[in-house]
């Protein structure tokens, strides 16, 4: 499979609205959806549970996916599928 896109303004191909959900539901939704997207695609997870700010980057590290950035609005968390 091709590698990820080089660094650039990542446009999320999809937004997953997990607002109102508590830990660990936003991470579970992310884990379900990301493998269905093409490699290199960026998924934005909207999650207002404060634990998501810790757990989404931690999930990326454990799963070898790329945590791109947190965005203020939502708040949102952009994740790129690497494999």
């Amino acid at each position: 499979m091709p590698g990820p896109d080089p660094v650039g303004g990542p446009d999320p191909v999809e937004v997953l609205d997990c607002r109102g959900m508590r830990c660990p539901l936003p991470v579970i939704r992310l884990a379900r959806r990301l493998p269905e997207l093409p490699v290199g695609a960026v998924l934005r997870v909207l999650a207002d549970d404060p634990a998501a700010a810790v757990d989404i980057p931690a999930w990326c590290r454990m799963r070898g996916q790329e945590f791109v950035a947190a965005t203020g609005e939502g708040p949102g968390y952009d994740v790129r599928r690497l494999h």
């Binding site: 508590r22 830990c23 660990p24 991470v27 579970i28 884990a31 379900r32 549970d49 404060p50 634990a51 700010a53 810790v54 757990d55 980057p57 931690a58 999930w59 454990m62």
Partner: protein
């Protein structure tokens, strides 16, 4: 029928040490009077209090008049922080503290900030180790009145570089407060601190007794209204029977500490190894080497922390968690957050003198099935 309950939350409170029970019962007969009064019963109470103070001070290697008994570990931590800031008000209004202090210290810091002061948190790395460079820079900045460092993390067990942090404080002429709640009665406390606190229930003493030590020459002023008891550091008459029990059990726990650490550390190693090998998608957190001998923490991916605690409780295992869903504020543990490690599905296991290897093995035998069951229920198998 389930097997007998297994308490694996000594970092909150260890079961009462037999020496504590014995001392408590004995002191109920002689320890009810006010130690400040000049009649027979008061003098007997004074003798008990003096003896308890001498014993606790000797165990910690400090002078008796440097040690005060407080109504709890939390009260001791509040008093330590606010008194250290009050004593150096003329120098400045900044408190430096690690990002992983106990909430009692952080709450005192919040009050300080609410009253116009400044608090500077110093980060830790992924293993929960203090950023030494950032600490030195923070305590060396102008206007720092006081610095607070937890001796070892009560949540993840990582031992902090107290001696090195103390050296940086000494160079900057800033007094250092060490929250030694997880060290006292278990491990030696490195030198160099000016103020220290501990909590009796962590070493098998009764609940409701804290220790506050202020070394001679430290500029520290009680933040409370004036009261002559306990050298003016903490107001109110002490609960003498529990103080006597706390001091007696501290001496007993400290005498056994080396042997207990040697017995418990391999059990923690065993937990670290078997949890990693037998529970899929788990992150064991905290420093694997520089750590407390009796405490280990891990997080299970996709598992609800509260559901995990309840499931373990139903099987007779009492543990603690830093997951958001188990806290009254619904926020994840600030310690796990500062480390950047998974906060959901979090379990803290902490051992004590009654913990047996059989209990630990039974916990480890049952844990993978419990986690798998919760994952199956949540439909997250194979994610």
């Amino acid at each position: 029928m389930s097997a007998s309950p297994v308490h694996l939350d000594a970092a909150t409170a260890a079961p009462l040490h037999p020496v504590a029970r014995q001392a408590l019962l004995a002191a109920l007969d002689d320890g009810w009077a006010d130690p400040g009064k000049l009649y027979g019963a008061g003098r007997r109470a004074r003798q008990l209090l003096d003896a308890a103070r001498e014993a606790a001070a000797a165990t910690l290697g400090v002078r008796a008049d440097e040690l005060s008994f407080t109504p709890s570990g939390t009260a001791a931590a509040h008093t330590a922080v606010l008194g250290g800031l009050a004593g150096r008000r003329r120098v400045g209004g900044t408190l430096v503290h690690s990002a992983i202090e106990h909430s009692a210290v952080l709450h005192a810091a919040e009050q300080h900030v609410a009253h116009g002061g400044t608090a500077v948190p110093v980060p830790v790395d992924r293993l929960g180790r203090l950023d030494r460079g950032a600490w030195s820079a923070a305590v060396g900045a102008p206007g720092v009145a006081f610095a607070a460092l937890i001796g070892a993390s009560h949540e993840v067990g990582t031992v902090q570089p107290v001696a090195e942090a103390a050296a940086a404080c000494a160079a900057a002429r800033v007094p250092l407060y060490v929250d030694a709640a997880q060290l006292v009665g278990r491990s030696p406390v490195p030198p160099g601190w000016s103020v220290l606190t501990a909590s009796a229930r962590k070493w098998g003493g009764p609940p409701g007794v804290g220790l506050l030590v202020v070394r001679k020459g430290t500029r520290w002023v009680s933040p409370w209204p004036a009261d002559e008891r306990e050298f003016g550091r903490t107001p109110g008459v002490v609960n003498l029977p529990t103080v006597v029990a706390a001091a007696a059990s501290l001496r007993a726990a400290a005498a056994d500490a080396v042997a207990e650490a040697a017995r418990l550390a391999p059990l923690v190693d065993r937990i670290r190894a078997r949890v990693t090998a037998e529970v899929p998608d788990v992150e064991v957190v905290g420093d694997p080497v520089d750590r407390l001998p009796h405490l280990v923490t891990f997080s299970c991916l996709y598992v609800d922390g509260e559901a995990l605690l309840h499931a373990l409780d139903r099987r007779g295992f009492a543990v603690s968690s830093g997951s958001a869903c188990t806290s009254s504020t619904l926020r994840p543990s600030h310690v796990l957050e500062a480390m950047g490690v998974l906060s959901h599905g979090n379990v803290r296991v902490s051992l004590h003198r009654e913990t047996t290897s059989e209990q630990v093995e039974r916990f480890l035998d049952e844990l993978p099935g419990i986690v798998a069951g919760l994952r199956a229920e949540a439909g997250v198998v194979g994610l």
